[in-house]
Symmetry: C2
DNA sequence: GGGATTTTGTTCACGCCTAGAGCATAAACT
DNA sequence: AGTTTATGCTCTAGGCGTGAACAAAATCCC
C-alpha cells in the first residue's frame, strides 16, 4: 500500500489505483475522467484497462452522455467480477448483503435472532456458507459488523448481551463447507464500520479529521483520519462511550464507572422514561419513547451534546456525523443538543465549531462499512494478485455463477 | 508521499526512502544493512548512494566494526548537508538548536523571556534570522514548539498567558533579513511535537497506536498512530486536557468547564498545595512542591491516572508515555496513579492494560519533535527535489558555511 | 605468511514500465 | 459533407530496478 519500489510493482500499484478510483466513485466516472484524475497517459490507461477487463475485474460500457469528440467508456463492475459479502449483526437481528465493485449492495437476507452468540452467529454462518457455495470464487471476503468492541482475531465482548470473548470467526465457520479462510473474514465494530462508510460514501467524504458517533442501545464513537477510522492497538478502539464525559459515578456494564454510554442511547432513553433498563432488548419500546417523550429525548440529546463538546475540544474535528438514534436525536432535539454542547466548548472551538450533521447513510452505515473493509483489503497489489491466481485456476469452469445479482431482490444503490 | 506512478517518481521515492532510513536510525546503520532493510538490489543502492553523495545530502565514512568480508560504509550527514532549526518556546524561556540529518542536535541558545508574545518571539526571531544568515542555504526549515493550541497558519492561543490568536510566523519574521518563507516554518504544539519525537526516537517507536501525555503547567495529550501524532482539522488537536475526564465544574481559562487540565500539572500542583494559581509562572515553586508535598503529588498523580483510564478506554493504545512533570509524577507516585486508573478501566482493558512509562527523552521531546517535523517535510520526493534545485544554484559558492557544527557548543546526541 | 573464504561495492545487459507522439475513430458542429 | 474536437490505440524512446559477473578488501585457516 505504501508505494512501489520496483518497475514491476509500479504496474501493480497503478492497477490497484485505477480499480480503487472506480470503486470509490461508484463506477460513475468515464475512462477519460479517470485517466485525467490519476494523472496517467492515455496509452497507459489503455493498457491498464485492457488488463483489468482481461482479468474479469472491470467491464466497460458506453457512456450515456456524449460531449463533442469520440465517445468514451465507463468502467464498471464485471458481471463475473469480485463480490464482497457484508453482514450487520445487531442485538436482535442480522442482515446480509452482497456488494459488487463500486458499492452496489444487494440484500440477501434479514433475520431476527435471540441474542445469544450461537443464535446470532450460527444462523448467519449457515447463510454465509450457502452464499459462498452459490457464488463460488467471486466472493473475495466477508465483513461482519458487531455491536461491541472487537479485538484482533475476532474476539467480541457485548457487555449488555452477556457476550464475553465470543470467537466470531469460529462460530461463523464451525463445521461449514467450504470453510472460512481466516484472512477473508473481517470482523469489526459497528461504529467503526459506520464511520468507514461515512468517510467513503457519506458526509465525511474528503474530510481530513472527522468524528463519527453511532448511537444504538449505547453510543460509540470513533475518529476518522484521512478516510480511515482509528481502530486502536488491539482492534477495539471506537469506544468513546466509555469515557466519563459528563460526570456521574454510575457503574457501567463494561466494568468502568461513570461512562458516557450510561446517559446516551436507547438504554438510557428507556431509563429516563422510567422503564426497565433495555440491555439490548426493547427496540420497539425505545422507538416509542423517542417518538412520544419530549423530556426523555431532550435529556438524551443534551447528554449527547455535552459529550460531543468534550470530544471536539480534544480532537478538533472538521465535522461530526451522527448515525443510528443519534441522527434522530439531532433531528428532534438539535437545539437542546447544541445548547448543551456550547458551554463545554473551549473558546477557540466556539469561534469555529465543526459542523454537526446526521449521517447520509441512515442505518445502513455498518453494513456498507463492512463491505468497504473487504474491498480495502482487496484493492491492493496483493489482493489483486491473489484474484489473478485464483482466477487463472478456476475462473472459466463455473459458468453457473453468472448474473447472480439479478436473481435476488432488487439492487439498492448506496449512493 | 503516496507511492510512485512513473519511473522517474520511482527513483525519487527510493531516494527519499533511503535518506529517511538513515535519518530514522540516527545514521547508525551500515550501507549493507540499509540495502537489506529496504529490499534493494546492491546495484540500486550503489546508484542511489552515489547520487545522494553527489548532492551533498549524504557522506560515507568507513564502518567502525568489521565482520568477515569486505568492509562496508556508514552513510551519515554530509558536512555541508541540510540543517533543521528547532525552537522550544515555553512560558518562561526559549531554547534554539540546529539539527543535522540523523537527529544530532546542537543547542545554539537558551534565553528566558517575559511571557509576552513580543518578548518571547521577538528575541527568538532575531536569533533565527542570525542563524539563517550564518548557515545560509543549509537551513531547510524551522520548527517551533509552543505551549498552546496551534491553528493552521501558526495562530496560537495560550490561555493562561493571555495569548489570543498570536501570529507566530509574523512575529518571528517581521522585518527580518532574510525573510522567513511561509512554507519553511513549522509551528506546532509542544505536546504534539513531544509525541512525534517519542514516536521516532523514544518509547513509542514501532508502536502502532500510542498515547503521549505531556504535563507542564497543564496537561496535553495526543494520540500517535503509525508514528504520527494526530493534529486535528485546524492543527489544534492534542488537547486531551480539555475534556471533563474526572468530573467537577471548575471553569477553565480555556473557556470550557470541568477540564481535566484543572486537576493535573504544575498549576494544579500549586493550588493543591494552597499556593497561588501559577498561570504560567512559578516553575521553581512547582518543583519545590513536587519535591516536598507527598499529598499534592499523590492527588495530582491520581487525577492523572483517572484521566488516563478514560483515554485508554476510548482509544485502546498499546502504550502510554508521559513527559514533562508526568514522568516525575509517575516516578514518585506511580502506585497512586495506577490505583486511580484501574477502577475506571473497562473490564476488557483491565485484562490487558497498556504499558505506562516515562518518556525516554525527558524535557527535550518538544525540541526534537520540532526538528522531526522539519525533516518530515524535507525527506519527501518534493523536499529533496527542492534541495537539489537550490543546491545547483548556490551550493558551490558559499564555502564559509562549512563545519558549522564544530564551531558551536558540543553536540548532543538525542539517542 | 599465503591461499581460501566471505562479504560488499561496481558495472552492465535485460526486462519492465510509463510518457508522449502520431494516427485512427467517432461523435458534434457548421 | 467537411471541419472540429475529444478519445482510444500503437509504437518508440527513455528511465529504472534486477541480477549476474566481476572486482575489492577484509578475516579465517592451514
Amino acid at each position: 500500500m505504501n508505494g512501489a519500489t520496483t518497475s514491476g510493482e509500479l504496474r501493480a500499484h497503478n492497477r490497484s489505483r485505477l480499480l480503487r478510483a472506480v470503486h470509490d466513485c461508484g463506477a460513475a466516472r468515464t475512462r477519460s475522467q479517470l485517466t485525467r484524475e490519476l494523472g496517467l497517459a492515455r496509452g497507459t490507461a489503455s493498457v491498464l484497462v485492457a488488463g483489468l477487463v482481461e482479468d474479469e475485474l472491470l467491464h466497460e460500457a458506453p457512456a450515456a452522455e456524449h460531449g463533442r469528440g469520440r465517445p468514451t467508456q465507463v468502467p464498471g463492475p464485471h458481471p463475473r467480477g469480485p463480490l464482497a459479502l457484508a453482514a450487520d449483526v445487531r442485538e436482535d437481528a442480522w442482515e446480509l448483503a452482497a456488494c459488487e465493485l463500486g458499492g452496489r449492495a444487494t440484500v440477501l437476507a434479514v433475520r431476527p435472532h435471540d441474542g445469544t452468540p450461537e443464535g446470532a452467529l450460527g444462523t448467519l454462518g449457515a447463510a454465509l456458507a450457502a452464499e459462498r457455495g452459490r457464488l463460488g470464487h467471486r466472493v473475495i471476503g466477508t465483513g461482519v459488523a458487531l455491536a461491541g468492541p472487537v479485538r484482533h482475531g475476532g474476539l467480541v465482548d457485548i457487555a449488555h448481551l452477556g457476550w464475553r470473548s465470543v470467537d466470531v470467526p469460529r462460530l461463523l465457520g464451525a463445521g461449514r463447507e467450504p470453510p472460512l479462510p481466516a484472512g477473508e473474514v473481517f470482523v469489526g465494530n459497528d461504529t467503526a464500520f459506520a464511520a468507514l462508510a461515512e468517510a467513503r460514501r457519506g458526509r465525511l467524504r474528503g474530510v481530513r479529521v472527522g468524528l463519527h458517533l453511532h448511537v444504538d442501545f449505547d453510543p460509540g464513537g470513533v475518529l476518522v483520519v484521512d478516510g480511515r477510522p482509528l481502530g486502536g492497538a488491539t482492534g477495539s478502539g471506537a469506544e468513546f462511550g466509555h469515557m466519563p464525559l459528563i460526570g456521574g459515578e454510575r457503574p457501567c456494564p463494561c466494568g468502568a464507572i461513570g461512562c458516557w454510554s450510561m446517559e446516551v442511547g436507547a438504554n438510557a432513553l428507556l431509563r429516563h422514561a422510567g422503564l426497565e433498563h433495555g440491555g439490548g432488548r426493547g427496540r420497539a419500546q425505545a422507538e416509542h419513547v423517542l417518538a412520544t417523550s419530549r423530556e426523555a429525548v431532550a435529556a438524551n440529546a443534551a447528554a449527547l451534546g455535552r459529550g460531543i463538546a468534550a470530544l471536539v475540544n480534544a480532537h478538533d474535528p472538521e465535522a461530526v456525523t451522527l448515525s443510528g438514534h443519534g441522527a434522530e436525536l439531532y433531528e428532534r432535539a438539535g437545539e437542546a443538543l447544541r445548547a448543551a454542547c456550547e458551554p463545554y466548548l473551549m473558546a477557540i472551538r466556539r469561534e469555529r465549531p465543526p459542523r454537526i450533521e446526521g449521517s447520509a447513510l441512515g442505518w445502513r452505515g455498518a453494513l456498507l462499512g463492512a463491505m468497504e473493509s473487504v474491498f480495502d483489503a482487496f484493492l491492493t497489489p496483493g489482493g489483486l494478485e491473489c484474484w489473478r491466481r485464483n482466477h487463472a485456476d478456476q475462473g472459466r469452469d463455473t459458468p453457473d455463477t453468472r448474473n447472480v445479482m439479478n436473481s435476488t431482490s432488487p439492487a439498492e444503490n448506496p449512493l
